[in-house]
Each structure stands twice: as C-alpha cells, then as structure tokens.
Amino acid sequence: MLAFVARRLLSTIPVLAIVAVFVFLLLRLTPGDPAAVIAGENANAAQIGEIRAKLGLDRPLATQFFVWLGHVLQGDLGESFFYKKTVAELILERLEPTLMLSLCTIVLAVAIAIPLGVLAAYRHDTWVDRATMAFSVLGFSVPVFVVGYLLIQVFALELGWLPVQGYRRLSQGFGPFLERMILPSATLSVIYIALIARITRASVLEVLGEDYIRTARAKGLSDAKVLRRHALRNAAVPIVTVIGIGIALLIGGAIVTESVYNIPGLGRLVVDAVLARDFPIIQAVILVFSVAYVLVNLAIDLAYTLFDPRIRY
C-alpha cells in the first residue's frame, strides 16, 4: 500500500509539470507579439518594449519558463497590469466567495443526489427512476445561467423570498451570507446533482444484483438497512470518484454562476481579466484551479486505500 501511495504521489508530478507548461505557453500562444497584445492597441513601441523587458519576453523560451516557474513555486504569481496589485493578493481576496460557493454546492448536491440515485436504483424502472434519469439528462442540457435566471425570477422577483444578487462575507454575519448563497448554490448544483445521481443509480443498481445483498435480505434486514449498509457502501468508490472528477464541471459552472449572481470570486476575476487582457491573472487562476483539481482527486484516490479494504496495491 505504501508503494501505491508513493507511486500515486509521484504520478502527480508530471501532470502538474505539464499543466505548468500549458499555462506558461498560454501567453506565448497569442498570435504575434505577446508584449503588444498585453500593451493593448493604443500602446507605442517604447511601452511595448518596456513590457517585453519586464516580462523577460526577449530571453529564450526555456529560460523564460524556468524563471516563471521559479517565481510561481515561491508563491509569486506576477503582477496584474490592470489592478496594479500582485496576482497573489487578488486571488486571496477573491478566494472566499468561490470556495464558499463550491463547498455549499457540493454539500447540497451530495445531500440531494445520493438519496435520489439510491431511490432510483431501488425503484428501478418505476416513475421515480424514469423521473430521476429525465432530470439527469435535462440537468446536462440546460445551461447554468438559464437555471440561474429562472430561479432568480421565481424566488427573488416573484416570491421575494431571497435577494436577487450579491455576496456577503461570512464575517458579515451568517444570516446574510446564507441568504445570498442559497440561489447560487442551488443553480450550480443542478448539473452536479445530474452527474452524481446518474452514477449513484448505476453503481447501486449493479451492486443490488450481488449475492451478499440477497444474503442480507434473507437474514431479515430492512430494505433501508440493506441499501445503506450493504448497497451504498459497496457502490461508494465510483460515486466518490465521480464527485472528484465532477469538480472540473463545478469550476466551469462556478465561473458562470458568479457572473449571474454578481459574486466577486475567482470566476469574475478571470472573466474580467480576459476582457482586460490581463494575462498574469488568467494564468494564475487557471493554475490555482488546476492544482486544486489535481490535489482533490489525489486525496480521493489515497482515501480509497485507507477506507476500502478491497483495494490493495
């Protein structure tokens, strides 16, 4: 098992290295002179030259990469051209809303999707099952922002139960925070629920055909106990895997949700940066999200070896 943990840890190094190369190359993928792209259309030759020298764009590509990587590893993500602040500062400022939105969404989605998926598998081929699957296909097809505006229209504008947009930090009180978090997390959770419910149903359905389920039923356990103790527990590995992989989906959705609800998080930061051609921010946000995504999935993989005695490497 230790060997597996070591191998799994080592395998993230090339992945992260390749992510770093892609992120680094992003600015260099711009057609023409990246310095001119950053400087904007109204810049003169001197300003462009200044940017080129400041970013080290006049040095060989490999040198540029290692200089950049060295800075990144020390937590120096560069300086925003637009905000005139370090990118690390900007990211720290914007981290809380995105993190909170993601956490609330994961909790909400798991709380709804897993019971829904188990129920659909238990009531296989009934209307409950078909409704769950229909919701799942629908969830993958309706764009996040359409869900968002529908929820705003109904719950904020017509019923007036919740605020339309905005964000309050946790430090400003739990009530206002939660009030403004309900609609965004409900919006973002739709696609995540669709994904988790679908995989839960499939893997519970598979487990329900196993001999040990019949044995558990034969010894007189209630259906609820069979489902919880035997079916769900044995079906857990693919479900948890998909929750981890689905984080990529969640990140994409969070960017959109933040725009719909005017939440000042990392998603808004990166979209504004694209419009302002603020490449250090774009690069840093992609890097932060990707590293987080890789590390979460690493943690999930390692957790299997601890919690699932069947997995032995």
């Binding site: 711009t30 993958f140 505006y149 992609i286 990707s290 995504y293």
Partner: protein, 300 residues
C-alpha cells in the same frame, strides 16, 4: 458490412431516443439554413423606436423601402430594438456550426493521436502523460484561457478561435477512448494474423483498427457536439465568445443580462432553443450509445 453491424444500425434507427434527437436536430438545422425564409428580418438592424418590446406588442418601424409599417415582434425586441425572433433564428447557425465543427475537428485530431499512441508503445507513455496534463485543467477554464490568447487576430476570425478553444479540451477524451479501443483490438487474433503475413502497420491501423473505433466515436461525437454548444453559449454569455454583431444564443442572452428584470424574453427564448437543442443531441447520444455500442452503456 457484417450482419451484426447491420443489426445495430437497424436498432439505432428504430430507437425512440435516436428518432427524437435526430428530428429535433434536423429541425434546428432547417431553421438555421432557412432563416431568411422563416420571416426573420435583419438580425443586426437597430431600431431606436422599438426598444425592449415585450413579445407580441406591436410597434411601428420602417421596412426596407423606408415606408412606415407595423411590426409585431414574436419574441420581443432587445435593448437596441433588434428583433429577438430573428436573432434567435440566425443564432441557430452559430450554435450548430460550433457544435458540429468542434465534434468533427476534435474527433479527427483525437483519432489520429489515439491510433498512433495506442499502436506504438514507445509513444504511448509520452502522449498519455501530455493528455493527463491537459485533462487536469478544467475544460471551460482552458477554453477561456485559449480564447483570451487567440481572440486578437487568429487566422480565421473570432468564430474559428472560439471553435479551436473548445476543441482543445475535448481532444484528450477522444484520445483516451480511441487508445482503449486500439489496446484491445491490438491483441485480437486477426491483427496478429495480419502482422504475421507482413501487412504494413498503417494498413493494419486503417483496415482493422479504425473500423472498430467508429461506433464509440459517433456516440462520443454527439456528446461533444452537445457540450460544445453549451460551452460556446457560456463563453458568449460571459462576453468573451462570439461578438454581438454575429447573433448567437449565448450573446443574445448576454445582452439581455442587464435588463432581465424588465425584459426576461431576451434570456428566455434563446435559452429555450439552446436547452432544447442540447437536450435533443444528448438524447440522440444516449440512444446511439445503447444501440450501437452496448459495451459502453454498461459503464453508465
């Protein structure tokens, strides 16, 4: 064509999901191509006298010859007085173009890489590490980064830049799929037989391996098409995709954002069209998966 494959095709054509998906898709294709015949006016014409009309509310405008005529905008008008119905109908062109182009390009590139990587072991490790790295970047985020890099003057214009930006994150998934097929086919007795009689490798790949990738790739292609239409809408909605001069379902909704409280029709109608089309393509994909590629349906 073998009897088994004919059977699968027959099943596919009779499947409800495939019929539903294909009919909606063809209807949207018809809408996109026949836009001028469907009563759509110029989708970019601005009319200051007809701004923010609710659906079905009459307003006076001028026709092509300058005469004053009454117009009843079926889906209302936007904040510049442009006819939302016409924009939605013309918007179908961008969505379908992006969906189909992304599916075609990513499948072609992924197929080529996957075939070669799956067949030559020494290349496999390098290519798959690259793909793992690419997959570690969340798809929409990668597309946003690439659009940022390419939106200023990539050869072929902004629509092409958006298409390519959506293609790149899809490639690793296609490569993985193709490679997994190649790895199983490579061990088949008929491939060994072909090797032993001295068939050149490119011929083995084309004659024996390629046909086995077609069914899973058709299924994967429909899913890519659906997700590409969504990603295009997301990019355009965020204001970094297709610019407003070319109406797309995403940018119509983007322009409706600021006024959505008073004029929700700007978001509602393109939203319905987009969701219905993506839903149809997803249902088509599920139908094709269940009938063409039963192995895959077991995996969820």
């Amino acid at each position: 064509m073998s009897a088994a494959r004919k059977g699968a095709l027959g099943r596919a054509v009779r499947s409800k999901g495939v019929i539903f998906g294909a009919v909606v898709m063809l209807a949207m294709l018809f809408v996109a191509l026949a836009a001028p015949l469907l009563g759509a006016v110029d989708p970019v014409r601005i009319d200051p006298g007809c701004r923010n009309r609710a659906p079905g509310v009459e307003c006076m405008t001028r026709d092509a010859s300058g005469a004053r005529v009454a117009m009843v905008p079926l889906m209302g008008t936007d904040s510049l007085g442009r006819d939302v119905y016409s924009r939605v109908v013309y918007g179908a062109r961008v969505s379908l173009l992006v969906g189909l182009a992304v599916a075609a390009i990513s499948i072609s590139i992924g197929l080529a890489i996957g075939l070669v990587a799956g067949y030559f072991r020494w290349l496999d490790a390098v290519v798959m590490r690259l793909m793992d790295g690419l997959m570690a970047i969340p798809g929409i985020l990668l597309a946003i980064g690439l659009v940022a890099a390419w939106r200023s003057g990539l050869w072929g214009g902004i629509v092409f830049a958006v298409i390519l930006a959506i293609v790149v994150p899809e490639i690793p998934r296609v490569v993985r799929l193709v490679r997994s097929v190649v790895l199983t086919i490579r061990e088949e007795p008929y491939v060994e037989a072909a090797i032993s009689v001295g068939t050149p490798t490119p011929l083995i790949l084309i004659r024996h391996v390629l046909p086995n990738t077609i069914a899973p790739l058709i299924v994967q292609g429909t899913y890519i098409c659906a997700s590409a239409m969504l990603v295009e809408a997301i990019l355009s909605f965020l204001g970094i995709g297709i610019p407003p001069q070319t109406p797309s379902w995403g940018n119509i909704m983007a322009e409706g954002r600021t006024l959505f409280r008073v004029a929700p029709h700007n978001i509602l109608f393109p939203g319905i069209f987009l969701a219905a089309t993506v839903l149809a393509v997803n249902v088509l994909g599920d139908g094709l998966r269940d009938t063409l590629d039963p192995r895959m349906s077991k995996r969820v």
